[in-house]
Structures are given as structure tokens and as C-alpha cells.
Amino acid sequence: MGADLDAILRRVVAGEIRLTRRDLLRAGLSASAAAALLAACGGTSVSSPPTQTSTSSGSASPAARATTSAGLSATPQVTSGPLKLVLAQSSEPSTLDPQFEQSGIIGTYLNAMQEHLMEFDRQLAIKNVLAETSQQPTDGLTYRFKLHPNMKFWDGTPVDANAVKFTYDRALNADNRKKGLSDPVPTLQGVDHVNVVDPLTVEVVTAKPSTLAWPFFCQEFVLAPQYYGSKSFDQTAIAPMGSGPWKFVSWAKGDQLQMTANTDYWRGKPQIDTLVFRTVPDSSTRLALLQRGDADIIGDVNPDDAPVIQADPKFRLESALTTFRVHIGVPCNQPKWKDRRARTALNYAINVDNIIKFVLGGFPKERLRTPVITPGWPNPNIKAYTYDPNQAKSLLNAAGFDWTQPIKLYTTSSGGMKRLDVAQAIVADLQKLGMKAQVQVLDSTVYTSKLKAKEFDDLYIGQLGAPSYGPVEVALPTGDLGLDSTHFIDATQNGPTYLNLYQQVRTTFDDAKQHDLVNQLQALFMEESPWILLYREVYLFGVNKRTDWKPTEYTRIHFWLPGEQDTHIIG
């Protein structure tokens, strides 16, 4: 049929056949109907060339064009010409000024353009980036960094000790904070001042000894003094300046952000010439972009879409275990949860393995064992709980639990993978045990307000993340990171002891002592069960096999991790 049509078309072009307007209309309608029918039947024999239409559609690179024009072939081939990689995510940052926004999403954008003194690698170990050497305090207060020589921001100004000092001074400036600058890092680190020792050596000095400071150096982007000192905040919000491997080109808010390779980058020019981050809120649209070849990586994949990606030979499904510990927060100050045995019983009452398997599609690897997750830091003597409803019942009875009282489980409808389904499954387990449990869905701002004001009067699903470093992770329940609503410190027997040991770990820089203290803290915490540990949150990505990109555990999206080569297009 295709050959016949081809022959007819050739004859029409040669003028051998004359078509009337009615003939053309009829032919067009027939072709459209046939194509629609084929499409509806899932046929792929229609080989209309892909319309790589315009830049705003995030049109694919030459390699992607080769892929789609070959009828969505499994083996992409061409890599000549400028290479472009398109990432589609569900959201975008409100601003590109890192000292004005603390959401996780800004990091995924700025990691390609700006750099920290240090960075977490794929194994969650802290590695130097802008710093050539980094030194923890010998006096408990002074962190010393020697920077690589010859690093430059895109405007040609040097990345030096002055830049580090400018970054901290800008963040700590009271006038700036009154204008909405909200960078919490220097305060969390307890930074007092920054000394420029020489152009490449800088000392960050804290007011008090604090082991919390160390991993947060992986969170503070070093800013270009000349640019950020001369531009207004509404200018830096939409056009960043950095020293990273890709340079900012443009940002059409709500649509896409474009970057181009920094040819003068101090670690060498990245292979990918153009990086595009598209904002696509709907998950099925993101999947369509991947299938069409308009995106190479899609984030926030719905677990229900995972089989579609896995079944297609052109794509692979990547999952990243995040540092978010999903748990049920138990307000220990509430009469019904005051008895430690009642809280412990909840660990046995909920079939976490089934939730992981049947609700979350098996993507979190396993039930969380301790609140500390950085390799080398979890207490090896703590074992994960197993589902045992009989044990739960006997513990609750021993605690004198009133089975007639209503139990609420607060959650938000969004904020994590299938969060509401998980809440329903938890409540079903509690109901099976005989509790009068129900899910209470809160608006995310109401939820956050309650969490931060410690106002939860019953169980809530929480999700806490922290920089991957044992001494910081044990800060989560103390209020030092401001996120817990369980009243663990002030309403449990182990709370004061925990706080005392935690103060020691904050001021102990000896590695062996730190490990010993962190182990003790985990044991104290688990004994009280203020959190019912569930699993680590997982992010799913759909990736076109033409790129070797893999997500990371801490930052999730990074195109050039320390100690690795940059992300490549390999097809």
C-alpha cells in the first residue's frame, strides 16, 4: 500500500494525474482516519518523521533525532555535532539564588552550574571539590580549606578565598536576611567569621565547637563576589553565575532552563554541550516525552509507570534511595503513647515488608533498621523489627492501651511516593489489630506548621533528611535541625541522656569516640521508639539508554560527581 501511494504521488507530481480539491480533501480525510485507526490499534507501521519542531519543546539532540526517526529504534547511533541532554522534572525552583531557597530541587539545578567546597560522592563519602585540601578543626573551631589554583567563575573572576568569605558574609548579613535571604547553613554550622589566609587559603571559624558544621560545607554554593555583589536580588534570582561545568543560558520560568558547556571549566570541558531542564508537572506527560525522544531523563516516575519503562528496550529504570527516612512519628507526650511499650508495639503492628512489596512496588530496598543510614555509622547491634501482631497486642495490653480510643494518622496527600496509599495500608494494619484508626489528610502547609510547632496530638507520617554524616543524623530528633514533633527529648526517659550524649558528639572530633557515641545514641533512640521506622524514600527515573547518567543518593541529580567523569551520551 505504501509503494502504491508512493507511485501515485510521483505521478501527481509529474502532472500525469490531476486531482480536484474534492479528491485531495477525500484523500486527506482517508489518510487521517487510517492513521488514527492505526494509532488507536497501537500500530507502529506509520513512519511519519518525528517533528523535532522547536527549541521550546526541548527538541532532542542529533542522537535522539536518529533514534526517533528510525521508528523509535533500540540502538541510537549518531553522536556527531553538538550533544544535548534533556531532563524533565515535575517542579522547578522558585529562584536560582541558592541563598534564597532551601528546597531540594534548587540543588538539582545548581549542581550543574555552581560548586561547593566539598561534595558527597556516590558512596555518601565527603570529597573535596573546589577545595584541594580540607581540614577539620584542631582547635575545635577552625575549618581550613586550600582551594585549587586557576579556577574561574564564568565572568573570568577567580574562585578564591575571597569568594568563600563573600559567600558567608552575604548569607550572614542582617540586612540581606531582612530582605528575605534565608540560607540556614551558616547558622546551622554556627559560623562566626571567615578568614582569608592567602588568595587560595580560607578559614571558616565557628563560634562554638560543632561537628555539625563539617557536612554542611557540601551544601553551601560558593558565589562570585563581583557578580553577586553588584546585582540586585531580583536579578540573581533569575540569572545565576557560577564556576561549574555548565553555564547558564536562559530560564523560561515554568517551561525550561538551558545551559551550555563551560569550555574553560577547571576539570575540563564536559562532553554534553547543551543541558536542558524542563518543568513538566504531569507524570504521564513526562513519560510521553521520554517515549517520544524529547527527554533523555525523566524524574519523579510514578511506580505504576515503572513497568512501561522497564519493558521498553530503549530505556532503563533507575532508582535512587534518598536520605529521607520515612517513619511514623509518635508524640511521646500524648497519654496514649506515653508508655514506651505502646510505642514499641507499633513496630510489630505494621507489616512494613508488605507495604514495600505491594504498595511501593518493591522499590525501597528494605525496612529501615536505624535512623542513621550513612555507611559505616549505623549501629550493627540493632536489628530490624519484624511483623508480629501478637507481640504488638501483648505489648499494648501490658501498657494498658485503651482500644476504644480513636487513633489518627496524619499525613499529606503528596510529598512522597504513594504517601496516601502507604498511610491507608498502615491504618489497615492498625485496624486489623483492633485499633479505631483512621487517616487524617492535612494540607501540606498545615502539616508543616504542626510539625515545626510540635503540635501533633497523634501519629503522623514523617520524612526526615539530613546530610549524610553520623553525628549530624543523630541531631534529627533533638530539635537542632528543627524537624521532629515527637517530644522524644522532653517526654521520654532516655531523652535527657540522649541530649547529654548528643552534646558530647557535637564537640568530639575524634573519629572512634564519635562512632561510639553515635552507636549509643541510636540504641537509646530505638529503645524509646519515638519513630516507627518504615523505609528510605525512593525516587524513580526513566533514562534513555543513550546516556550513562545514574542518580545519586544524596543529591539525586548530578551530572559530574567528584571522583567520576561527567555524564556522557554514549549512544
Binding site: T51, P184, D234, G482
Partner: protein, 305 residues
């Protein structure tokens, strides 16, 4: 007439003021903006300090009064999250929203009127039944489902049109169809029933008896008189299209005001929410005023008092 317009304009100002007051109150009741704006790693002391610095610890009427005092001078403030003037942010996104809603409106206008007129003229014919089946289906299918199906068929399978994003005319086709389908379907039904009512009137029979051609009777005598309820609906469509555009903008990753407003509501970006509400409500009220004035043009019996 002038007196009527002035009175309606004054009432419009009151309506916009009321809408902004209600939306401010609802935003105020829905939780602490300082907590929402704070990062996860903030301590309670940092949040308290931030709340005080931003003035969120003042009574609501003081905050609202400050907003109104600035707004009447054209200053809607600075976005709490984006740190840019909110009016600038709105105007950046407005062309995309107008492009989308305008296309959907045009689609509705160009399709629903001929479909409705022809259906009425050929009542109970195959055409009429097919058109009303289409209208029923168009009204029954939710916009998110239509959008997803359009993407699957025309962008993924056939690869005729782009999946999402804003660009050339080709980017506009699928979102405009998805958004415009409901008003096309509903208005076609209304045009049909309105036409049927008029076609049974004495003056139409008289026109036919005079031997006027069918098309002239249909368009000159019947259609003009059937227009009043249709014009009302088209006026209301502007509101539907602006609110329905939020879903369409999300599905097609269209960078319009709807998505900006929803993000602002979720992020408790009060100045941006208020500005969006004032601009959208103001636009809606003005369009309805224009529709009311149009009545007088279409039907000389309508008097403005």
C-alpha cells in the same frame, strides 16, 4: 447608559475587593507562611526570626491593609518565594495563558455555533444525532483524560505534534483542543436548543411564508434572536477557560498564570496569590460587564438602568 457603566464599574471594584479579602483570609487561615517558606533544616528560632522579619507576626488586617494600600498604587509587592515583583511575574506568564485560553475560546466560537445551527436546522437527522453525541461525549470527558489521550495519539504514536511545552503554533493545537472541547460541546447544545426555540416562533414562519431563502431565515432572523443566552455562556466561558487552564497547563507543561497561581497557593506566596486573584477576578468581572453591554446591541428591547 453611562450611568449604568459607571455604577457597574464601581460594583466591579467592590467585587474584586471582596474576592481579594476572602482569598487573603483563606490564605491566612491555612497555616503559618513562615513555616511553609522555611527550609526543612531550619530551627524554630530561625523560623521565629524569619516570621518577625517578614512581618507575618502582625495582625491579619494590618497585613491586608498594607497590601491594599500598595495595590491601589499599582504595587502588588514582591513574591516571597521568587523574590521578584509579582506584577512582573504575572505579566511574564499572561501571554501564555491568553494564547491558550484565546485559542480555546476561538475554537469554541468557530465550532459550537455552526454545529448548533446545523443541528437545529436538520433536527433529528443523522447529522443532528452525531453532533449531539459528540456534544455529550465532549461534555462528559474530563480535561485531564482528553489531554492525556491527545498526547498519546497525536504526539507519541503518530508524532504529528509536540508532546508539551510552549513554542510555535504546533505546540498550541493539542492544549487548545483539550481545553476547548468542553465549551465547544456545551455551547453547541445551547445554540441548538436556543435555535430550536426561535425556529418555532411566528416571525420565523412569517419569514418563510414570505419566500425568503432558508439560509437567510436561519442566519438573519433566527440566529440573531437565539444569540442572547449564547452570549451569556460565552462570557462565562472566559472564567471556565481561565480556571480550566490550570489543569491543561499542568498536563501540557504550559507556562501560564494558572500554574503560577497554583504554585503560589501551595507555597503560601501571599503577595503573588493576591495579585493573581485581583488580576483574574478583575478580568472576569470586566468581561462580564462587556457581555452585559452587548445585550443592548443584540436586543434593542434591553434597557440599562
Amino acid at each position: 447608559m453611562l450611568q449604568y457603566v459607571v455604577r457597574r464599574l464601581l460594583l466591579s471594584v467592590l467585587v474584586v475587593f471582596g474576592v481579594s479579602l476572602v482569598s487573603f483570609g483563606l490564605m491566612f487561615l491555612s497555616g503559618d507562611p513562615a513555616s511553609a517558606l522555611a527550609g526543612d533544616n531550619w530551627t524554630r528560632a530561625q523560623i521565629d526570626e524569619f516570621r518577625h522579619q517578614m512581618g507575618f507576626d502582625r495582625p491579619w488586617y494590618v497585613q491586608y491593609g498594607e497590601f491594599v494600600a500598595h495595590a491601589v498604587r499599582g504595587n502588588f509587592g514582591t513574591s516571597l518565594r521568587q523574590h521578584r515583583p509579582v506584577f512582573e511575574l504575572l505579566m511574564e506568564r499572561m501571554p501564555a495563558t491568553l494564547e491558550l485560553t484565546g485559542s480555546a475560546f476561538l475554537l469554541s466560537l468557530c465550532l459550537s455555533i455552526p454545529i448548533g445551527i446545523l443541528s437545529a436546522a436538520r433536527r433529528n437527522s443523522v447529522y443532528d444525532r452525531a453532533a449531539m453525541l459528540f456534544a455529550l461525549a465532549g461534555q462528559s470527558m474530563p480535561v485531564f483524560w482528553v489531554g492525556t489521550m491527545l498526547i498519546l495519539i497525536f504526539a507519541v504514536r503518530l508524532q504529528w505534534l509536540p508532546v508539551a511545552g510552549r513554542g510555535g503554533l504546533d505546540h498550541l493545537i493539542l492544549p487548545a483542543i483539550a481545553l476547548g472541547l468542553f465549551p465547544v460541546a456545551r455551547n453547541a447544545r445551547v445554540v441548538r436548543s436556543s435555535m430550536l426555540e426561535v425556529l418555532g416562533a411566528d416571525y420565523v414562519r412569517t419569514a418563510r411564508a414570505k419566500g425568503l431563502p432558508g439560509s437567510r431565515v436561519l442566519l438573519r432572523h433566527a440566529f440573531k434572536n437565539a444569540l442572547l443566552p449564547v452570549v451569556t455562556l460565552f462570557g462565562l466561558d472566559i472564567g471556565y477557560l481561565l480556571s480550566g487552564a490550570v489543569i491543561t497547563e499542568s498536563i501540557f507543561a504550559w507556562p501560564g498564570v494558572g500554574r503560577l497561581t497554583v504554585d503560589a497557593v501551595l507555597g503560601k506566596d501571599l503577595p503573588l496569590v493576591e495579585a493573581a486573584v485581583v488580576v483574574l477576578a478583575g478580568g472576569f468581572v470586566l468581561i462580564n460587564l462587556l457581555v452585559d453591554l452587548l445585550y443592548g446591541v443584540l436586543d434593542p428591547r434591553v434597557r440599562f438602568q
